[in-house]
Symmetry: C2
């Protein structure tokens, strides 16, 4: 399986309402894309200094599942309505994981 993670730093004018609307839109999107096996998105809890503003963790069966998610019209729509205008900086990584390896 594939774990896809992304960390975002927001532009200075992004509000808490923008972030809440994004999280709601991503959650709804994830429920409608069967290739997404697990989805977590939210504002950084900032438990340690110097972190980013927002994170996403998606688990997919394989690379085709990742493409199905990221290229899905509902994901593109969330990007166009919310994410695209909020991002100052984005970091993303895909890691191989074994099924059941995460708590």
């Amino acid at each position: 399986m594939i774990l896809h993670l992304a960390a975002f730093r927001w532009k200075d004018d992004v509000t808490e309402a923008d972030v809440s609307a994004l999280t709601a839109a991503l959650s709804e999107m994830a429920e409608g894309i069967p290739e997404i096996k697990s989805y977590t998105a939210g504002a950084n809890l900032h438990l340690r200094p110097a972190g980013s503003d927002y994170g996403v963790v998606a688990i997919l069966d394989d690379a085709a599942g990742l493409d199905a998610y990221l290229d899905h019209p509902d994901h593109v729509a969330v990007y166009e309505k919310h994410l695209g205008r909020m991002i100052a900086e984005r970091s993303a990584v895909q890691l191989p994981i074994e099924s059941g390896s995460l708590a």
Copy 2:
């Protein structure tokens, strides 16, 4: 529970051998820190364009567990021996997750 994710971009002089040595050191470290409930670290599979070079995902019970991990002498030692001299850029986020919510 807390999911801690980190994405790294390496300096230009970082080699594959550096990355392999880091992954081995992090894996050994994680096995010795009981507060770490799950640990995945590795080079980005680069399944999509414009990603970072390396990622880490750790799952902890709570904020105290995160501190126990990141401030652990074995983690500090990995940072001093490997990670510190490799990092050009680091992004990190902590997200709340429910136990069993990840595949």
